[in-house]
Structure formats: C-alpha cells, structure tokens
Amino acid sequence: MISRRGALIAGGTGAAVVAGGGVAAYKVATGDKPEPPSPPSVDAQGKLLWRNWSGVQHAYPAARLAPKDEGELATALKVAQAPIRPVGAGHSFTALAPTNGTLISLDSISGVVGWEGDEAIVRTGTRLGALGPMLAEKGRALPNLPDINKQSLGGALGTATHGTGAKIQAMHGSVTGLRLVTPSGKVIDADASKNPEVFQAARVSLGSLGVITQVRIATSANRRLRRRVWLEPFEDAVAKAEERWAQHRNFEFYAVPFTGLAANISHDETDDPALPRGPDQDTEFLQALRGLRNLLGFATPLRKAAAHALLSTAKPETAVDEGWKLLSTERPVRFNEMEFHLPVENQLKALQEVVRTIEKERPDVFFPIEVRRIAPDDAWLSPFQGGPRGSVAVHAYYRDDFTFLYELIEPIFRRYDGRPHWGKLHTLNGGQLEAIYPRWKDFLAVRQELDPEGRMLNPYLKGLFGLSY
C-alpha cells in the first residue's frame, strides 16, 4: 500500500538513535518496549508451557491429548483430568484454552470427509488455511473468511469468528449440522430438526459443551474476487461506509489513528483473469506507523502532518484471485485485541469516539482500528443474534500496554450496547452477558444437562458463565 518510504521512516528513526547510544537507548528513546516477560518453558513439575498466539495467556497442562478419531476422543473424555479444554491454534486472547488439566488438540481429526450436495462435512481440527484448497478441489468455498486463517475450524466456530459483508453471516451461520462428543463420551448429532436445542446452543459454545468433532457446512461457488485497497481521509470513509457496505460483497475499513486517514478494503465477484495479490505490504505499513509513533508520538499535530505527507499519496492496490486466497491476510506482527459487535446504528458513532479517545489519551497506540459489518443469525450465543451488527476492533502491539482497552475503550463499546467477541479481550460475565443475550439461560440449561459436573470449565469459563462449582 505504501512505498519504501514507510520502511525508511521506520528504520531511519531507529538508526539515528542507535548510532547515538545502542539498542537500549533506542528502546528508551523511541518508545519501543522490550519483549514482555516470558513464563518458564517448563514448570516446577516438569510440565511444558502452552501459550496463546499473542503471548498473554499461558498454562502448564497435566496432559495433552491428540486423539486420532472420534472413538479415541470419546474414550479419553470419560477419564480425562478436568478442566478439559479443546484448543486449536491458540488465537483467542481470552483465557478460553488455558488449563492445568487436559488440553485436547483435534489436529488429527481434520479434513473434508464427505459432501451432502453443496454442503461439506468437515472435521473441526481442520485449519482454515488448509480448508480453502480442499473445498476448491470441488469448485466450492466457504462464503466468507476471517482476517486470519491460521485458526482451527472448531475454534473459529466456537468463538463466533467472522469476516465482513453486510449480507454474509459469521462462519457459524453456514453450519447446518454438527456432531458433539460430550464429557461423558456420548456422541450427539444435532441440526435444526434433530436435537435442535443442542444445535442452537452448540454452534457458538466456546468449547464448553464437549468437543465438536465435525460440522456440515454450506459452501458457495469458488468465485474469483477483485480486491481493492485504497486510502482516503477518515471522515470520508465514515461518510461513505454505509453506501459501501450496501454496494460490495465484502467491505471493511481501518481507521488509522494519528493520521487522519482510513484504509478501505473491498471484495467483489468477477470473471476477470487472476491478478495475484503480491507480497505483503501491511507489515511495512505497520512499521511506518510504528516509526511515526516513535519519532513524533510526543506531538500529535506533527505526527498527523508527517503521516499525511507520507501515506496519503499511496497508490490503490488491486488483486484478482479465488476468494480463499484473498479474504484472509498474513499477520506476522503479533498484537492483543478487543472487538465489540454493535447495533449498526451505533457502530460509526462508537468508532469516532474510540478514535477521539485514543488520539487524546494514548499516543503510544499506532495499530489501525478494524471496522466490519456482519449479517444476523440465530445461534443462542452468537453476538449477531437478533440483528446485523457492526464490529469495531482495537489492537495493541504485543509489546505494548493494553490495559487502556479495558479502561478507555470497553466503556465506550458498552455504552453503545456492544457485545464482545468471545475470543477477544473483555471483562463481561454472568449477569452482564445475560442482559444482552436473550437465550443466555437456555444456553446454560443445555450446558448443565451435557456437563453437569462442569468438567469442560476452566476458572475463566466458570466466571464467564457466572457459575460456582
């Protein structure tokens, strides 16, 4: 998206300071923080560390299981040491996966195992990035994909992971049936007509009802999409956002704080020949933003002027390719994140307040803020239950302090009636969630029936559900 000038700013800042005082001086002078402290790789009992993608969650599980099939999983679940937690790629920022009991990976229970018409039967250990080419072999694709495709299908569905598109549901919206293995080893097939209550509870269930081993999921034709990325003033992006959500198959934009700019991304179906996406430029863009923060973070007007001069003339990018190759992006720069899903009429007001607050209170922030739109569905714990939602996601570089997300950002989202992304940072629990999810009690009743002893619950989930065992 930007030229080499971005990297020059990012690199040049460091080089100038390093020349005067070495790496330590650079870190102090630029605001770059050292690596966060690491927990021991092995605990006192010799148990190996597990950490999530961003590094903020960790545990030393007593047992790690990788069952080869459903039968082995069912047998293991009956005797496994609680808390039993299924884990995928560890992309959740909340403490859904950590356990000192049993960590279960479904990496060996993966792949497309059948088709019912255009609906694929997919094992939930399948990573999203691997699923694209599997479905493409049949000329099919998932209707949408999230921004990152490293997650397991089970993890993505369980946390209501989503992409963007006013007419496209979150991933679990395409699930038409599922198979659940309960903590007692019972296998339950569920869909809209068979065990419908289990189906509605399990589609988004945070891995708390047992282990979902496979889903039947609707697919769409594997069409080529035209991807466009372009920058414009933030106010213009806000003014045109609704029109663009209505116009494009997929549309999102990133508000870039301390620049006065926004980056728009649209995808639309096309029959044009493929024009590959080319090398990743988002990382260079981020480096430029970090460089601007480091160099001019002390003076917001200067920082904005420099950012405008550096970035605003960037040329738009275009690519044409199959959707599964374009809709997700490599994210080699780690971060922590809070995302809330807001009623659409509140989304842009909340966004503007978030940007104003960050620019007033937190000059250390440089990550763009992601703004998406998601169609409604009826899963009981879906944040998109009951109507379309607009999401706003605020990120913090993994080395930087992220407490501002709780102190400054979450109150804004809550004031605008937001629901938190289940896998991203938030503090809501119990009664607060019951107040914003009409089927909360119904979900807890199904959970109680399937796991009366709470063997699938770690301390975080007990708190989230407001349960005491």
Partner: protein, 119 residues
C-alpha cells in the same frame, strides 16, 4: 588412469569445499516438502507448514539453507526456546498444542535442512 582418478577426486573435494548452499526451494517444492516420519509429518502439516512452507509470511522457508544458517548459528537450544516461547512473529509452540520438546527439535532440524543432526 591413477592420475585421472586423483584429479577427479581432487576436483570433487574442491567442489565440496567451495560448494555454495543449495538454492532455496521453489514455492511448489516448499509446499510439498514433508518430514519422512509420518507422525512428525502430521504435526508439521497442521502447524509449521502454514507459515514455513509459504514464501512471504516472514518465516524462514523450509529447507532454505541461507535463511536457516543464520538462525542455526544461535544453537539448537535457543531455537527450541523460541519455538516453545514464541519469538517475534513466531507464535508460541508454532501453534502445535501437542508437540513435545523432542518434536520441536526434530521439526526445527527438518525445516533447517539438518535432518542429519538427529542421528
């Protein structure tokens, strides 16, 4: 005849001493490479492969000796620690929740093109 053999051996020796590292694999080769051991191959496919087999992700490409040599010099213990803890863009445990330290070591040796180190 003997002289010819000596010259040939000397030429081979010189070639070996001054050998340039093998070129990095093509994107197609990188996608197709797998550890010989079936279990390890399964672990690799669901974790490391997502980044280390695809050019442009920022991760050193599997069997790209030039990219791995600088890392290998840090020592296997350091690379193992980075794999378990995460390091820069590398997520902790390479997103392999059930890999043991021995698995990580074998996977690193495979990706670095140092399978012989395992012997």
């Amino acid at each position: 005849m003997r002289r010819a053999l000596v010259l040939t051996a000397a030429a081979l020796l010189l070639a070996a001493c001054g050998a340039k590292p093998a070129p990095p694999p093509t994107p197609e080769q990188a996608l197709a490479l797998r550890p010989a051991d079936a279990r390890l191959s399964g672990l690799y496919e669901t974790s490391c492969h997502a980044c280390h087999a695809i050019p442009g992700t920022g991760a050193p490409l599997v069997h790209d000796r030039a990219a791995w040599d600088v890392r290998w010099k840090q020592g296997e213990a350091t690379l193992l620690d980075h794999a378990i803890q995460g390091y820069n863009a590398m997520p902790a445990t390479g997103q392999c929740a059930t890999c043991t330290p021995a698995d990580f070591q074998a996977l690193i040796q495979f990706m670095a093109g140092r399978e012989d180190s395992a012997k």
